[in-house]
């Protein structure tokens, strides 16, 4: 188990309101919240596992399944929506053969939509990993995804395609 997550657990002194930060640090280190992390948190804090599960499923941020190497986040804010975000999402689904919130079999991509990335002037926007791609079209996003695949197959370390 990762050090920061465990040290946060050890430092837990019964301060109320620590559950969400604990879950956030667990997710930071595992990429998702594994079953055993829920058990650990429950043992240390005395909060029932069922209650922890209730908190996890309430918030959009938390995931109970592992994710791919690159998270694709299609912005579905209002500005992106009126500029064709849905078409982009369908293109990505078609290109990768996955639905929303699913991960490709090779573990490379996970597809999510987000409410707003806040760069409305670049609409429609897609984020892949930490990179933001603005003013996308179905054709351009397809090209970018293929480029990611190609680089991954070649083992290139360069992430950005800008």
């Amino acid at each position: 188990m990762s050090e920061e997550f465990t040290s946060r657990l050890w430092r837990y002194d019964g301060t109320p309101g620590e559950l969400i930060p604990l879950l956030q640090s667990a997710q930071d280190h595992f990429g998702y919240i594994p079953r055993r992390a829920i058990s650990y948190i429950s043992t240390v804090t005395g909060i029932a596992e069922s209650e922890i599960y209730g908190v996890i499923t309430f918030y959009n941020q938390f995931r109970l399944k592992p994710i791919g190497k690159f998270i694709i986040r299609v912005c579905n804010g209002t500005a992106c929506h009126v500029s064709g975000a849905n078409m982009l999402k369908e293109t990505i689904q078609d290109e990768l053969g996955i639905e929303e919130n699913e991960t490709t079999d090779d573990g490379l991509f996970t597809l999510n939509t987000v409410a707003c990335l806040g760069c409305c002037s670049l609409a429609p926007v897609v984020m892949i990993g930490e990179e933001t791609y603005g003013k996308q079209t179905p054709a351009s996003i397809r090209k970018i995804l293929r480029e990611y695949r190609r680089r991954e197959e070649k083992g290139s370390k360069k992430k950005s395609l800008r």
Binding site: I20, Q61, F62, G77, T78, H81, M87, C120, R162
Partner: protein
């Protein structure tokens, strides 16, 4: 020495500001002491990002769309030789604050109180905030005013909550001040969840100290000892800059024990939200800080009596707090000079959608929507027709262009059926379908409904199903009446702001665009040519290369043609799935 300042807000960074900054840093390391390099937050011109300012004394030249290669030119021409690159200049600001240049209108029509430092100072350096009068308001509040005088001053300014509801801020503070308790809290709602709204993020990224100072003054006024900023986890840069600022404020003695030797103790911690729109509702926000599911509860008791951890709590949003230091330093009278009789001061709007200049604009209350869209926003993109603005996001409504002379204030906007909201303004043109807009927002609130109140949980789902049917051309006689009835019921029976406002986008579009709904239902036609199921698909022979991908992807073989020649679509066979549009690599397929 000249100073180059790169706009490094989230919008700048997503447009490539990091690359521009790195380039300038590299140039600087090769040419030591040739200029100073700094960063700033969002100046508001998101449509021109990345922005680089060259400042010499009081003279400021702002360049737009600065790629690394333009940055090199700025260095060799402007910084070294004093030759301004006129073709890349967005605007120039001289020592008297006069703005000239091609984009000057964008800034000239604004009145900047909340955004007074955004795009001007380096938000990570507390001294730059102090140099522009920062923490003067706090000193005044601590040493020249009694707590009830602070509250009186805020009351007199006429400031109303900028989070959406517009409750008078001074009055709110007086409730919390009256509550008798050893422990009280100050909470800042920075859980900006509306899609299309980014005002609060820009303030937190561009001028975090103004929010901290506002909170400290509030704490002094109501007698609180601890504060929380509840910030979206999706705003990592805002959280980073808040942390830097809190640390710097502690070192300077503005936060912590015995602030500036006044004997007053107050500290602030940051709580990261975990992504739930309903947490914008204060009682749900408190539940979330306490580590529970963010579900609202019945009021009373009001937060001023029993809020966070059951203690008296004052909760305002980011923009409200950012106004406070200005009001205390400059006086209530000065503030009340801005705005209208009942809505004093300014409001920050995030302008986006089909508008030429999208970005952040702070205008005096009472400015008309038309001026916001045309004078500041520069009109509609691509020369299309202005149809409407959507204000207040999923809780708000649509205001058609015919009544765009409506003023933005807390009386006029609600009269149209929309709400002021937190300040997201999305401009719509004639290609935007109003039924689809309403469906889009309802889909959002439906997903975000916490499920506590039956009408909000199930009613919004029934409304969403009905709207989805209508956009697919499966609407029926009587649907509109049902939508209106359900909308009314949801508003009446929901506990919190989410449910009470969720039907607004539907009810306002029904009010102004009933004919569009009827065209979908009766004629199975989408007047804006937007709803995929109700339009015809065509292939532009100029763009089509005859690659045949669309034909291969078509599930019903509606597309035919010979390789390397333009293909055609048989609309009598087509099932309007849209697969051809998403598969075409040349953008050759369009809807009519």
């Amino acid at each position: 020495m000249k100073k180059a300042i790169v706009g490094m807000g989230t919008c700048g960074l997503s447009a490539g500001a990091q690359g521009t900054y790195d380039k300038l840093e590299e140039i600087l390391s090769n040419n030591e002491n040739s200029f100073e390099l700094s960063i700033t937050g969002c100046i508001g011109m998101c449509y021109m990002e990345p922005l680089v300012e060259v400042r010499e004394g009081e003279d400021r030249v702002i360049y737009g769309k600065v790629t690394p290669s333009i940055a090199e030119k700025i260095f060799s021409e402007h910084i070294l030789n004093g030759r301004i690159l006129e073709e890349n200049v967005v605007c120039r600001i001289d020592g008297n604050g006069e703005v000239t240049g091609p984009e000057a209108d964008f800034l000239n029509l604004q009145s900047r109180i909340v955004l007074r430092n955004c795009g001007v100072i380096n938000p990570e350096i507390i001294e730059e905030y102090e140099a522009r009068g920062g923490y003067k308001g706090l000193r005044k509040a601590l040493f020249e005013m009694k707590p009830d005088e602070i509250i009186e001053e805020v009351k007199n300014s006429g400031l109303r909550g900028r989070g959406g509801a517009g409750f008078p801020t001074g009055l709110k503070w007086s409730f919390a001040a009256k509550s008798n308790s050893e422990i009280k809290y100050v909470v800042c709602n920075a859980d900006e969840g509306d899609p299309g709204a980014f005002m609060d993020r820009s303030v937190l990224e561009g001028d975090p100290h103004s929010v901290l100072e506002g909170m400290i003054i509030c704490a002094r006024a109501i007698g609180a000892s601890h504060g929380y900023i509840y910030c979206r986890a999706e705003y990592p840069l805002a959280i980073k800059r808040l942390n830097i600022s809190i640390e710097a404020a502690r070192e300077k003695g503005y936060l912590g024990e015995n602030i500036l030797n006044s004997g007053f103790d107050f500290d602030i911690s940051i709580k990261q939200g975990a992504g739930a729109f309903v947490c914008g509702e204060e009682t749900a926000l408190f539940a979330s800080i306490e580590g529970r599911r963010g579900m609202p509860h019945i009021r009373p008791p009001f937060p001023a009596e029993k809020g966070l951890w059951q203690k008296p709590t004052n909760n305002n949003n980011v923009e409200t707090y950012a106004n406070i230091p200005w009001i205390i330093s400059n006086g209530a009278e000065e503030y009340a000079r801005y705005g209208t009789e009942k809505s004093r001061g300014t409001k920050v709007f995030s302008l986006a959608g089909k508008v030429k200049r999208s970005g952040l604009a702070e205008v005096e209350m009472g400015t008309t929507i038309r001026d916001l869209v045309f004078k500041i926003g520069g009109g509609i993109k691509g020369g299309r027709e202005f149809k409407a603005v959507q204000m207040g996001g999923p809780s708000g409504g649509t205001i058609p262009s015919e009544i765009s002379d409506t003023m933005v204030d807390f009386e006029s906007i609600p009269a149209t059926g929309a709400i002021m909201g937190s300040g997201g303004v999305i401009v719509l043109d004639d290609t935007s379908c109003m039924v689809e807009m309403a469906r889009f927002f309802l889909e959002f609130t439906q997903k975000e409904s916490c499920g506590k109140c039956t009408f909000c949980r199930i009613g919004t789902l029934r409304m969403l199903e009905t709207l989805t049917r209508i956009t697919k051309g499966e609407g029926e006689e009587g649907d509109l009446e049902k939508l209106e009835l359900w909308g009314k019921r949801i508003k009446e029976t929901s506990l919190c702001g989410l449910g009470q406002t969720a039907p607004n986008p539907v009810l306002t579009t029904l009010r102004y665009y009933r004919d569009e709904y009827e065209a979908h239902i009766k004629e199975k036609r989408c007047p804006a040519h937007s709803c995929i199921a109700l339009v015809d698909f065509h292939i532009d022979p100029e763009k089509c290369t005859g690659c045949s991908i669309c034909a291969k992807n078509c599930p019903v073989n509606a597309i035919s043609g010979e390789p390397k020649k333009p293909y055609t679509i048989d609309n009598s066979v087509c099932v309007r799935c849209g697969k051809c549009i998403t598969s075409c690599r040349f953008g050759a397929i369009y809807k009519v």
